[in-house]
Amino acid sequence: MTDTTFLVRNARLLGADAADLLIADGHIAAVGTGLAADGARVIDADGLVALPGMVDLHTHLREPGREDAETVETGTRAAALGGFTAVHAMANSSPVADTAGVVEQVHSLGRESGWVDVRPVGAVTVGLAGGQLAELGAMADSRARVRVFSDDGICVSDPVLMRRALEYVKAFDGVIAQHAQEPRLTEGAQMNEGRVSADLGLAGWPAVAEESIIARDVLLAHHVGSRLHVCHVSTAGSVDIIRWAKARGISVTAEVTPHHLLLTEELVRSYDPVYKVNPPLRADSDVQALREALADGTIDIVGTDHAPHPSEAKDCEWAAAAMGMTGLETALSVVQSTMIETGLMGWDAFARVTSTAPARIGRLADQGRPLAAGEPANVVLVDPAHRWNVDPYAMATKGRNSPFAGMELPGRVVATFLRGHPTVLDGARNTPFRGWAD
């Protein structure tokens, strides 16, 4: 049950024709023109775009263990303000989310926070150590109902272990989300290997280190008939391999981050570690290939890889700095800038890559649904005409490591509804959702 009924007037549904949305009792009660409802709070959505709440398949919430970098509370506040209604919390916490106990803890923290649905990702291997499988079944059967498993940050590089993991999760319709990085080819790697790394004298991170793992994994997924998800694809060559695999009917999905859609390795010439990230920023030709692949469906989703760090982890020399960038509160704007304002896709496709497809991959039944009567009211209202300057210090995330700091970006989240409850209203944080059914 929710506290109020909302009548959203004249929102452009998925960027198309304007219509009214009546939101009541956690659901979209009606869609149409000229709707009326006594006692409903009316939201004038003239010029706003209505979208299904965004779903992030790749978020680092850092809790438990690194509460100095982020907590579930601060990270999910950031998510709601960024237009998300669900996030998948990556497993590289401390302790690692490799047991039912830890994933249930993260799940509970998400419930207590109430800003978005928090779906924990389970580690593939115990301690992310790549040695033996974690108890994937126990995590799947836990209250957290884990379906996505990943050692993200570290590649499951052992081919036998990867094969077994892919096979094993078929028992509960799970998916392995692979961080594709051949470890030997990237020992000490600091940035994309190419012209800029040659100039800067930073150890190179070759594209082939990513592509060779993806090639191996799609063949393994094909061989054992499993689902594979490729995290943060960053090179044109990876796109080619995934396109080939999909043409062969292999069950592979792929993700790209907002920062890989916009930024290139040229930024590393500053030696500013805010641009240090795994996988690294690549060349402009890679950026163009990633945009085209997201538009044509070769890449299925946008995942933020939101990776907050305390300031001291970036306020140092390049080699000593942590890898990662924040992204929850800029994802919508960066995708609008790189994909919609470039004419590569419309808001309907935006909804597919930020909501429908990630919800399907993560097996979230009541997220990523159409904006239709009877559906759960996970809805975000966006003002696409708004432009703003990115200020990391004005964000809800604890992380100040936004590579977009100082940039002007389009788009603003005006309201976010989580099961009919406004977590964000008038562009500002409102109140958390408390009406969990179970």
Binding site: S197, A198, G201, G204, E266, S270, D315
Partner: protein, 333 residues
């Protein structure tokens, strides 16, 4: 120009200003009283995160000949080994009123961070960062080559550049900050550079550098050369499969006795042999080559002090113009 971080964006005018000033400084070094009052009352900090006795002593001698107060800070045994950050170390030193910080660091880009992050106000001189840059080494190499050209021509070197000079840089280019800084500076000064190395010890992307690449040292020598610069090769590279063995490396890419003799056979009587030191005798350079009359190894060390005096003096006096190129400009070269 406030800092000396690399040579990629160092202008022709500023490079010549440093080299010409170094000539004046060299003259001081030949006087009985080898000291100028130019930096009296100024403080220069030698901030060395990597062991390098040679470079540190060279900078120390340079600063002292200019009458600066010198503070030497070595990371080993200091608070750095207790986990202190670069930022805190730098700010601590600046709180002691450092006017210039000479930094040697194992991380590429550390001097750029020090100069551009707003941590400190002092002038920053890069004394070697990771595998990125070593600008004063490149400047002393250019100084040495320029003097050699002037001696051959019987003229003064002041005001001249290296137009037409043919230079081979041979060895572990991939891990060499000396090679990088020389490629950019020698290009600016008009020399033509050929890099010679096993393909494993050249960076991916080297094709974009303003130089040519040859895997064959003999062929590169045959093409004619005025200066052969041999880079130090660490035997440990062998264990990472950069090359099969030190003996194979020495045979294919070392300046051995046979290749030393070949310079005579080729009629290259005036070709000099350079090495930034420390040398691995018998690996990248034979003792006969290192000790031959062609060798400028000791002249390079001597010239290092003059060039570092010039850099310190010019940066602290503000007499260098701003270089036009920015760190972000792709087409800066």
């Amino acid at each position: 120009m406030k800092h000396l971080l690399g040579t990629e964006s160092l202008s022709h005018a500023n490079a010549l200003a440093i080299l010409d000033t170094a000539e004046e400084m060299a003259a001081v070094g030949e006087r009985e009283v080898k000291k100028l009052p130019a930096l009296r009352g100024r403080t220069v900090v030698n901030l060395f995160f990597e062991d390098s006795t040679r470079t540190r002593i060279s900078f120390e001698a340079a600063a002292k000949r200019l009458s600066a107060d010198v503070i030497n800070f070595a990371a080993k045994g200091s608070s750095v080994s207790k986990g202190e950050s670069l930022k805190d170390t730098a700010q601590t030193l600046e709180a002691m009123s450092a006017d210039a910080v000479v930094i040697r660091h194992h991380a590429s880009g550390a001097p750029a961070r020090l100069a551009n992050s707003g941590w400190i106000d002092a002038a920053v001189i890069n004394a070697g960062d990771g595998t990125h840059a070593h600008p004063t080494q490149a400047l002393l190499d250019a100084f040495t080559m320029r003097r050699h050209l002037a001696r051959l021509a019987g003229t003064a070197s002041t005001g001249t550049d290296l137009a037409g000079l043919r230079v081979i840089i041979a060895g572990d280019v991939l891990h060499s900050r000396v090679a990088r800084s020389n490629v950019w500076l020698l290009r600016t000064l008009g020399a033509s550079v050929t890099l010679v190395a096993p393909p494993t010890l050249l960076p991916v992307g080297v094709e974009h550098w303003p130089c040519t690449v040859n895997y064959d040292l003999d062929a590169a020598l045959d093409a004619g050369v005025d200066a052969v610069m041999m880079l130090r090769v660490q035997a440990e590279r062998m264990h990472n499969s950069f090359f099969p063995s030190t003996r194979e490396y020495a045979r294919r890419w070392g300046l051995d006795d046979a290749r030393l003799a070949r310079l005579d056979t080729l009629g290259l009587a005036d070709t000099i042999i350079m090495h930034p030191g420390p040398m691995n005798r018998g690996l990248e350079i034979s003792s006969a080559a290192a000790d031959s009359p062609r060798s400028t190894v000791l002249a390079q060390v001597r010239n290092g002090v003059s060039v570092r005096m010039a850099a310190l003096y010019l940066l602290l006096s503000g007499d260098l113009h701003d270089d036009a190129a920015t760190p972000f400009s792709k087409d800066a070269r």
